[in-house]
Structures are given as C-alpha cells and as structure tokens.
Symmetry: D2
Subunit: 424 residues, 4 copies
C-alpha cells in the first residue's frame, strides 16, 4: 500500500507571469461591498496565491527603468476576499500564517528605490531619489543579489499586507481623515496621502456595474496600514506567526498580498522589502465576541514566529530628532526624524565598506535590520536605533583599530540613462 | 600559599545614601571646562560608582509624593569626567561596559510617572498624569515589585546616560538649536526643551568661581541624548556591550550615570526605567583618528551584549499615526504618534489582565518590552510595534477563546492625597 | 514585459508514491563504484528529490502494522551520487543546505517506534518495544499530529543522512571494524551492527552485473554515521546550514536522503524523527586541498542555520550513568546510560501530563528537544540533560504548587492486534 | 529623607583567602547527619558565600605546580547545609538561583588539567596528562586569560554542585553501588569511583566525635552528581535558573559550592570549568508532596535562565563511537567515546588556529561550548556534536578557501619542570 497524495486546497489561483487584469480573486481597493471570492472553514489549512504588489510590472534585469515608470495607481494586488465561516462583526479572526513561499518557478524578488516624483519614499526629498533596483535570487532560505555583492541573509517571508474588510462606517472614517490630511497639507511631492481614485482600481470579480463604480470611487487605497491591519509592513509577521484581527463585516473577508521575502524595519525605500509573488498557507479560526474579550481590541495583535533568524550580533547606530546629516535642525521629539538619522548613520557605515549610496539604501530596506524606538521622552530628542546584523556580510565588518576596510563592488541596477540620486 | 585579593580600582566613589551635594566626582551639566576628576589608562578595568539620577530624592516607600515633588533642575547626577590617556579630538573612544550592578546594600530601584506639571512624560497631557511609583526589589538578576504583583523579569542593567564631553563649539551648537526650539514652541507644559539653567547646577570639583559660573550658565542640560551620546536611554546598551564615542576634547572626558536595572523601549513615563544607584565596571581604549576611519562618525555606535534575556515569545501590538485612542486625528507619517498608539493598545491589554492604568504605564516603562519602527513609508501611516514578553508574567497571558482572565491586584504607589491621573 | 519563469534544475527525480524499485538516482548502500548519477557545477543551485527512508513502506493511517512489518534491509533510499566538478580526494566539499521541504502533494510524515525484534531502538529491550506510530500533518512550518494531541512545533527540516562516497580503503576499514564488533558481541536483539548484506540492496543505475554484485556484497549499510558524514541524524543540520565534507574519490559523489521534518536530539526511537519524503535545495563548492587546510579534517564540520526555532524556555531533566529507572545499576561514565535516564525522567513528566508511554516515546523522538552532555568527568557518573521546550504544548506545562494537571488524550497509532510495549 | 540600606542576609560566611580548615558552614561529604548550619524561610532572599572547590589550593600565577600537587581528598568545599522551613521528605524544594558572582576582591578563577596520576580527566590516559592551568581574569561579565590569548567570552556563572542531603537509605544505596563498581573495575588510574574516605573529610560544625567519625567513614564523596543533584556540573544551571530538588530529610538541608564562572558542556578536563570562589544569591520554597505531584520525581529538574549568552554562530564538530583519533577501534553506541571524538576534532581545529594542545584542552573545558547527543540509535555509532562559538575569538575563525590562519600565541601555565602531556 503506497502513500497517497495530500495537499491543502488553493482558494485563490494567480498567474504571476501575467498582469492582474482579467485575473479573478484579485482586488486593489478596500471596500465592504467587494464580495467574498471564496470561503473557508475554521481550522482548514488552505493556500492563497498572490501576485507581487505591482502586478508584474518589474522585471528581472539590470536597469531600473521599470521602477522609474511604475504605475502605482494599480497597487496593491490583493488576493481575496476570503470569507471565514461563522465570523461576524465583533468577533476576532485568528489567522495562522503557516507559510509564505515564492512560486517554485519564480525564484527571485526585487527591492526598489522610487523616483521622488513617482512613488517617493522616506528619503525621497533628501536624496532627490532616482530609480534604483536590486534583484534578489532566492537560494532556498537565503537571498543574494548580483546588485549588492557580498551579502547573503536568511529570509523572513511575510505578507506586507493582510487585513479584514472594513465596514462602511470604518471606510468612511478612513476616507474622511485622509482627505482631511490632504486638505491640510495640499499637494506636495511625494503625496502625504493617497485618497480614493478610480484610476487603476481593479476588482477581479463579477459584480454589477454600479457596485463596481462605487467601489472604484470610494474604495480606500491600500497603501497605509489601518485599524484592520492592511499594509502594516511588519517584518515580524513572518511565517509561523499568529494574528488576531478585528472583524467588521460578516465573513470577515480577509485579503492579503504584497508578499515580502525579507524586509528591514521601516522599509525605508517604500518599494523597500524584497518584493515577490508567492503562495501563502493559512489557517483561520474565530473568537466569538473577541473584540470585547481581548480588551476592546482596536487594532490587530499578533504572536511572532518562533523561527526568526538569530542575527544577534549587530552594529547599532543611533539617531536623534536633530537632522545632523542635513541642516542641523532641531525637531521636537520626532521619532521619524530620529529613525532617518539612525538610517543615515548606518548608510554612512555601509558606504565606507565600499557600497554605493543606492546600494546602502536598498540594503537597509531589504535586509533584516532592526530598528528600535529607544527613548521617546528625553526632550527634545527622541532616540531611535538601527541595528545592522554583521553575519549577513561575507566578511568581518566590525570596527578595528584600522577602521573599516573599503572594497570595490559592482553597483545596483540604475536608470538606463544614467541619472542618479544626489551623491552627497 | 593562599590566593590574594585583587580588585579593579574605583575611580569615582559615591555615597548613594546622601544627596549629591558635597560629593566629588559628580556633575549635572555638560561643559568642556569641567576638569577631569580622574584619569584611566587604555585597557585598564576600573569601577565608577554612580548616584541614582535624582541624587537620592526618591524613597523606598508606598506613596508617590517624592515623585510628585522631585526637583528636576538637579538631574542627572553624573560620575566623572574620566579622562582617558591618549584620547584626542578626532579619535574614537571605545568603552566596554563590562558590568553594571546596584550597590550591594541598596538592592532596589524605582519607576515613576511624573506629574504633568512637574516632569511630564510621553502621556503627560493625554492622561493628565499624576505622580505614581513602583518600587522594585532586586532579587539577583531579577526585579519584582510589590506595586506590580505577578511579574518578574531579568534585568538588562545599563547606563541610561553615558557620553564624552563636548567641545565648546559643539556645546554652542546644542544651546543654539535648543534655544531655537523653545523660541519656536514657547513655553508649553511639559517643556519642549530644557535650556541651560544655573539653578540646581552642580559641579563637584574645585574650580575657580568664574569657571563654575560659566559652566552653570552655559552648561548643557543632561536630559536629551546628543551627538556625544548622553542620555540616549537605550536599553540594549547593557552590561557586556561595547560603545564607540566620538572624542571632542583632550582626554575625551567620559561621564556616565542614570543607571537602569531595566527599561522598556521608549522609556515612556520619562522616570521610566528601573532607576537605581550602582556601580559600573568599564574599560576604555582609543582608535586614533577613529572618526574618519569609521566613515565620518557623527554619533556613537555600539555592539550589543551577547547576554540579552531571551524573551522571544511576545504579544505584539501595532500603532499607526492615527490617534485611535484619542480624537481619531490623522497625522502624517508621525512615528511618535504611532509609538503612542502601540503603547495604548498594549496598556489596554495589560489593564484587561487586571492591572490599573498607573501599573500599565509603569510596567511598559520598566519591563524589557521591544518597540520596533515597522514601516515608515506607507503614507500617511507610520507603523510602530510594541512587543510585550509573555514570560515576565507568572501566568499564561496569551489570548484564548475565552479572552483574557482578569485578576485582582493591589495597586501601584500613588499620591498620599489620592489624586490620580485621568481614568479613561 | 512580464517576468519570466526561473527555477533551479532538479538533478534527481523521485516518485514518492512508488517504492524505490525501478527508480533511477536511488541507492541504499555506500560504495566507491556506484557511478555518479548526475553532475553539478560549483556554485550551481540545484534540487534533489528524495524518497522517505523506507521507500514508501509507511502509510498515513491509524495503526502501526506497517511499522511492525517494515523491511529494513531496503533502507535508506538515498538520492545520488551527485558528482561535483573539480572535487578530488583531499579536497573539502562545501555543501549549502539551502532548503528542505516536503513534496507539495505529500504534506505529512511519521514517527515510529520499532518492534524490539524488527528494528529495535534505544529502549527496545527496556520497554520490550512493540510497533507504534504517529502521523504528523505539516501545516506550513508546523507539525501537528492527531496521534499526539495538544502539541504543535515548528520544523527544523534536515537530511538525516548526507555524505560523500568512501574510497575503497575507507570502505574496507568500515567493514572490517563493524564485522569485528559483530564478532565481539555475537548476535543480540537488536543487532549491534549491520554488516554488508546483498538482500535488499538497490542501485538504481545501469551498471555491469559484476559491479552490481560486488557493490551488493561489500557495500556498507547506511545505518550509522561514519567519517564521511552519512546517517549522523543531527537535527541542527537544518535548512540554512553549511557543511564541509572530506572528499575521498573524484567528484566527491554526494548522496543524501532520510529527510526529517523535525527530530529530537538522540532520535531515540530509531524511526525517530518526523520521517518524510521531500526536496532538498543545495549548492556545492570545493576547497582545494581542504582536508589539510582545515587541520587534517577527519570528519565533517558544519555551521548551523541562523533559523533555528527559539524554544528557549524548557524544562530540563537530568540523567546519570545509574539506571534509576531500571535495576539501579551503576555504570562507569557511560553517557549513553545517562542519556537514557534523562529521557526516562522526561517521559515520566510527559506521561504525568496525560500522554501514553508510546506517545512520550514518539514525542521525544520527533519534537525539537535538546540533549546536552553536561558533565563527563565526575566519576563514576556522566551527566546528560534533556530539555523539553514548553512552547510546543497548547497549555502551560510548568510545575506549580499543585503539581501538573493530567489530561485525557487519544492515543498514538498502535498495532491492530492491540499488543503494546511493557507498561511499567 | 534619604534612601536606606537594604541587603539580603548572608547565611554562610567564607574567607576565600584561607583554607577551609576552621571555617564553619563548610563540609565536603554528603551525609544525613550533618546538622543544618543555618535555616531560611520560604520566599526569603539570602546569600551564601562559597569557597572555590579546592579550598584555596590554586594560585593566580604562571605555572601549574599547584594543580599538579592538588589534594583531592579535601574537595569539594560545600557551603551549608541550609535547612528550609517546612521542607519534609516527599516534598520538592524549589531553589531560585538568583545570582552567582565572584567575591568583589577576588576577580579571577582558573581552569586546570590534572595529572593523569592525580585527578585524571576525560583525556587523562589518551594524552598522558600533565598539569596545566589557565588563570582567567573577570572583567565584569567577561572572562579573559593571559594563558589563552585572543579569546573573551561572557560568563554563565553557576554552582557546579548543588543538592539536598540524602536520607540514610539513599546514602547506603550510593555507597553500595559505587563500592560495587570499584569491586568490578579494580583500581585503575584514574579511579572509576571514589568511595568514602575519612582522609581529608571535613565538617565545619560542632558535632559529637562519634557522629563526626561516622560521617567521615561513610559520608559520600562529592565528586559525582547523584539523585539529589550534587556535582552535576550543568553549565545551564546558571544565574536566573530555577531548580526542583527531591527532599529526603526534614529541612531538605541544601548545600552548594564548586562555583563556576563558565563551563563548556562536558567539563572535559575535570578541573574544567572556570573554577572560582564567590557568592550565591538564592530563594527557596517548597512544593508539599511534590515528588508525587511532579510524576514521581527521581532526580532534579530545572528551568534554565532567560539570560544565556546568544553565541548562536558556531562551528560544529561531529564525533562517533569510533576512535578515529586513536587506534580506530569500533565501539557499540558509546556516547562517551563519541563525545571524546567530537572534542578531539574540535581541538584539532583550535590547534590549527595556533593554540597549544594544553590550551585547546583548557579552552573547551572553560568556554561555553555546546555538546549535543545528536543520534544514539544508528548502530553501531552514537553521534555527539560539539559546537565552538565563533564570537569568543577576537578574529574571524570560519573556514575559508585558504583554510585557517595559524597565529602564534603564548602558552598556558605549565609545570615548572617543563614536563608536558603527550604531544601527538
């Protein structure tokens, strides 16, 4: 008697070699009226295929023109919604992220730096960013890149984006407050928020035209994380973790996408993790009336995976809310500024190793760097740290009496016209 | 032949049972003209005794009146300056933090929440904070508190504050930019920055009166971390870590103090770690011309200790730059707001366990919670996480189908007049 | 322009739903004359499919009759030999174990306890072992078993068996010394060693009959680990690890198999890990003249993976070289006895939780328990410890003042005739 | 109001600069009739001073003559017995090892290799061991040695020896079985067991002469670990751990000593940890009828400390039960032989780095190396691993294409007559 095949069923199928258009079970806006594409039982192990966040706009090549010209109105391509039996508003949806893998026949991902004028990112104005890219090859649990030689690290695959569908009330709250922010800040580059925009909106299911139009017109963009989870881009939400989401509508309507093979805390270049298409393995259950039972849960909570790479040895950089890499301006307890300074200090070290500015930028976005809010009470300076794991380099990078050895490396993928970001 | 005594020399002696006044080797302002109190050789292991940051203002009792009435003009009591042989401007001072212990006959510390109007803290306005306190008893490597029953955790002893003396030029930069901030923000409660203030200033050494006056008048306050290190309050700067400081004046003139037995990332209540008096064991060396050799070092870097408690299992809370615990306001990529929301979500969980608002506040400040900047590019929402280690509780606190069990606990030390902070 | 498929090539294909017979690229004896089945380049990432160690003899059902009747002359089914370009005797073969996964359509594995009279195991005589089995379902990175309810743990997938081909000289050494052992000990049950045996021998390749006969007659059995690696059953040789093997013949001729989804230190039930069929992803390179360069390397060395589950909290049991669970006999510095006692102490605790003797036995073989040689000099007692990770249970198993709560669980898969091992 | 002194009481005082003779609260044999020296309450934090295991026979100098001439009849100097209120036979004594520190004025320890003919050790016959020594200086949490340059590691301070007093019945069992072993093996060098011996026996308390004589005559030697704990030399029993001991007599009568600043798994040179005098901080409580409640507890169990150094990156060596470093003999599933082979493989690597044979021997005994029983069922070869942490070296010791760089180091402390162990 021979063993028999057994495999979890796949509730959403995606072809990562085609754009999202025409593919079912994909959508790129949040709205309560997007009907569930499939339904799962509590306790059932199932698989969800996911497109990469751009829907295949980025290629495995050696220039960054595709990054430069990316169409961000079409992001993120999410798989779902997946209805879960018995889930009702007020409940908590427990989601076990059992595994996240790339497609077997697509063993690569990418990290990008966007143009200041098309996408932006944390350093977009500071650097006058121009498109740059690193292609990462997946070698089993590791990522390596011909565009950032000399580094290799274990992945922490996770969904950058996962969340339940909002109620109409919650959706309205989001749209109101984000439109308010745009009203307050005007229209800077890059934008302060992305409000509903029918252009590029995509719902892969058969729905009446009027419903589709309404979803296109008022569906929340998928860029930010919100109360339901969404695009929180938490690197520790990796395979093996367990999440607890508030449920707002019947069935909970879980969606996910924007898979990352790895990410650094902060995801600072925005296209910043190792972006990939791939397959999630999930299991769901429901805690009835869980929102109240868990202390009036306002946002998801989660338990991290026991399998986090043990990159304990790090070089840790500090950042304060003083722009020491820029004009020296003093900010008041601004942790965002402090994060940026820690990152700049870390980039300076990486560049001293011999890497280019673009490579330092890409590496911090992609590798499992750790950033802690160290102190946020010592007026006027918040302190944020950034820890660079030493074991990801193929050589000893610790400081010595002789300083740091500078080596020569080939560069990241740049624009084919050669235009680069500001070179300090 | 019997073994013989051997012990590192103590370069600063402190009596932690007396206030700082009259004690040598203590100072509470930063200034290049504070003369070195002692000198050490490269490679020499030495000890430095340190007062607690308030200079003994806080007692081991069961009310918070001493916290309410604390005199913050007198903080921080730093030990030093310690000159290191051969250190010169442009060098990097390597400091091994070999150990940090409490005084053998003072086996306790404290965590406080300050009054909104005397000291403040991150939630000072949100909570209309009133003084609260937890006394922690040190049981070897562990801390326990009669004011927060049911928790016990291993310490991560570290200096909240350690740094080299600034040059006059650097000091001037600090004073200018911080005075500028005060000019910009006016005089809110709590203050946005603390500029030089002769009141409470203390230099424990014999110096000419005019020098003393100048130091009192223009010496930088010790509250914030700055380019030289200082009060960065990084919990991972714990015993076993190695730090690299820029050197600005001859001898480097290292000072340290504000010892913590433990701290949570962010130190959110400001008096927020487990504050203690104690003894540091250090060793110093110099990397000649190190600032340049390490990539034009602008701020200290450090290597964390290999002995960090392995509290891997955590419940992780998310926070975004939307004030969901307050008025629902949408902020633009504000990591400070996101940190606050993550902390509020965590506090709600702790309160559901049965602890008071003050206890939740104190616990997050004192226990080794981890806060990461998860994502800081997904406009408009920065995402910050806060991880609560489960093993510090004497019971299983993971969510279950039944939610969380609420228990009864005695409360923290409060004001003797019974006035408490805003109770949601 | 759409992304294009990319995938490492698979150098050995296996159908895990058929027995080994007739499948190419499989062999179950070690011999220098087994020709390489395929050849890889240095630096090439490639895949190797592997049968489970019994070649599909064990089924996903609820009795242990297949374990009882297993034919062990046919084990292990190894994939290979894989020749590596440029590898020559005296070199060191560096093998990156990049990933180990089950077949997508075979998401389960098994742990068995063999009969004393057919297979044996460490406790075979102590327990008068009768066949028992646990089927494990793989839920992403986790394993769960309907036969051992209440536990779940992250896998540490690894090849139980991996090694280079021996030279004729080395093979002769093995055969001589193992035959000597059999001569010394006679023919106990279970056997002390398994010497060459043409019965069950299998070489999947086309080779002349006389060569095949010689290999069958003198090929070393695959049961023990030896100088070349082989069946070392080291749980930490998991995905992400890097190994260094001595090379004995041209091409190195690497073979591997006996994949484990997980294993406890010691693998005490012999069929003791979570056995599975699956796919290995590997990369090889060569250190020329490496045996000498690495200090006259006599056996493989390896670097463990950075992704080891962080099950830091454990209950640790001690064992000495005194048979306190049996007749009380005192042994002299016998670490094997000490290991057995630690295991018995651990099993007693697991049984107090409510599990059966068979379940305790199976669980220690399958879960990531840690066993250390603590002290091996304190005459006459070696001390070995066994650490049971607490987080693999779905409840708090730490000792309390009330002791340990005993629960009811359904049992492991047993023989269909109901015959069980000795029940203390 | 100033803070007030507070300090746990010290229940045993020891002068580590004098021999044990004349010091109260010390004893070096196990016997139920040794009266308790002091008594503690449940929940009380207290301190116990401990002599080093030899009672001050070893000096901080640069030859090993004191090791050569050590008097082992006098070991171990234990502090106690400490009676715990309410503890009765059948109970379980819970001991929190809250801290272990050296004496403040004795900041050093030692590792020794004994002579084959005076003390022995695991490799005593293989190496024809001659006395060697390394003095370790404690620099806060770290140990460094002028006798083994280029290494530094964080300590894991622990009592090598801790246990409850045996009942008369248990004592008789020990003596009978150990005398039986001696009868079986005769009188080899080194001895297989050390039976009661009045010579060197020491009980520091006032007791009637006839009782003293009986204790001297029948008191068990302290060398091996036994059912009550005792000299188990488990490196993970470090500060922060919690232990559960069976209680055999009223008051439990806890004794401890043989403090180690650090130790490698196995403690292979016998004088093998970093031996030190020092101070333990403890807290005890009692689980009534705990032996039965914890599943008929036969030996202590313990929970390891959360503060174990994170030396995750290791080079791991394998050992089998074949003496590949000696005569090539094949053993049957002998984990002791396998441990020895793993150690020999590791020593070969360390020697290739440039260290002497004595240094390699001492380092493995003293540094936090990890040894796992990997597989103990693959007849005829048990497999044991030994993991050498890379971060304890001041340089990168990973294998490269060029092999390993060999450096020159000054040697360990050797016999002043220059006689050394067998140099392969």
């Amino acid at each position: 008697m021979a063993p028999e095949p057994s495999e979890p069923r796949t509730v959403v199928h995606v072809d990562p070699f085609k754009t999202e258009v025409g593919q079912k079970g994909l959508h790129n806006r949040w709205h309560p009226d997007i009907p569930a594409y499939c339904k799962v039982k509590q306790g059932e192990v199932f698989k969800v295929e996911c497109h990469d966040w751009t829907g295949g706009q980025i290629s495995n090549n050696d220039n960054s023109d595709d990054i430069q010209n990316v169409d961000l109105t079409r992001i993120h391509n999410l798989s779902g919604p997946i209805a879960v039996e018995d889930a009702q508003p007020g409940d908590v949806l427990v989601v076990d992220i059992l595994d996240i893998t790339p497609f077997p026949n697509m063993q690569w991902g990418y990290t990008g730096v966007f143009e200041r004028t098309n996408g932006g990112g944390l350093f977009s104005n500071d650097f006058d960013s121009k498109a740059a890219k690193a292609i990462w090859d997946f070698e089993g649990v590791y990522a390596v890149s011909r565009h950032i030689p000399g580094v290799r690290f274990a992945g922490i695959p996770h969904p950058g984006l996962i969340g339940t569908a909002p109620s109409q009330e919650l959706l309205d709250t989001w749209n109101k407050r984000e439109r308010g922010l745009v009203a307050e800040y005007g229209d800077p580059t890059p934008a302060v928020a992305l409000v509903p925009n029918a252009q590029g909106a995509y719902i892969g299911q058969d729905i009446p035209d009027d419903v589709r139009k309404r979803i296109h017109d008022e569906g929340a963009r998928t860029i930010p994380g919100r109360e339901h989870g969404g695009n929180v881009d938490i690197k520790n939400l990796s395979r093996g973790s367990r999440c607890y989401f508030p449920v707002y509508i019947d069935g909970a309507n879980l969606s996910l996408g924007d898979l990352h093979f790895s990410q650094g805390d902060g995801e600072l270049s925005f296209c910043g993790a190792i972006e990939m298409a791939g397959i999630a393995t999930l299991k769901c259950s429901v805690i009835k009336d869980g929102i109240k039972k868990l202390g009036d849960l306002k946002q998801p909570i989660f338990l991290p995976s026991p399998i986090d790479p043990m990159y304990a040895q790090q070089i840790i950089f500090e950042g304060l809310s003083v722009d020491v890499h820029g004009d020296g301006k003093q900010y008041s307890m601004d942790a965002t500024v402090a994060y940026k300074q820690a990152a700049r200090n870390c980039m300076a070290y990486i560049r001293k190793l011999g890497y280019s500015k673009e490579q330092a930028h890409l590496l911090l976005s992609a590798a499992p760097i750790e950033s802690h809010v160290a102190a946020i009470v010592d007026v006027p300076n918040a302190c944020v740290t950034m820890g660079l794991p030493t074991a990801i380099f193929d050589r000893d990078i610790l400081p010595t009496d002789d300083g740091i050895e500078t080596r020569k490396y080939t560069n990241a993928a740049l624009r084919s016209d050669g235009v680069r970001c500001k070179q300090d």
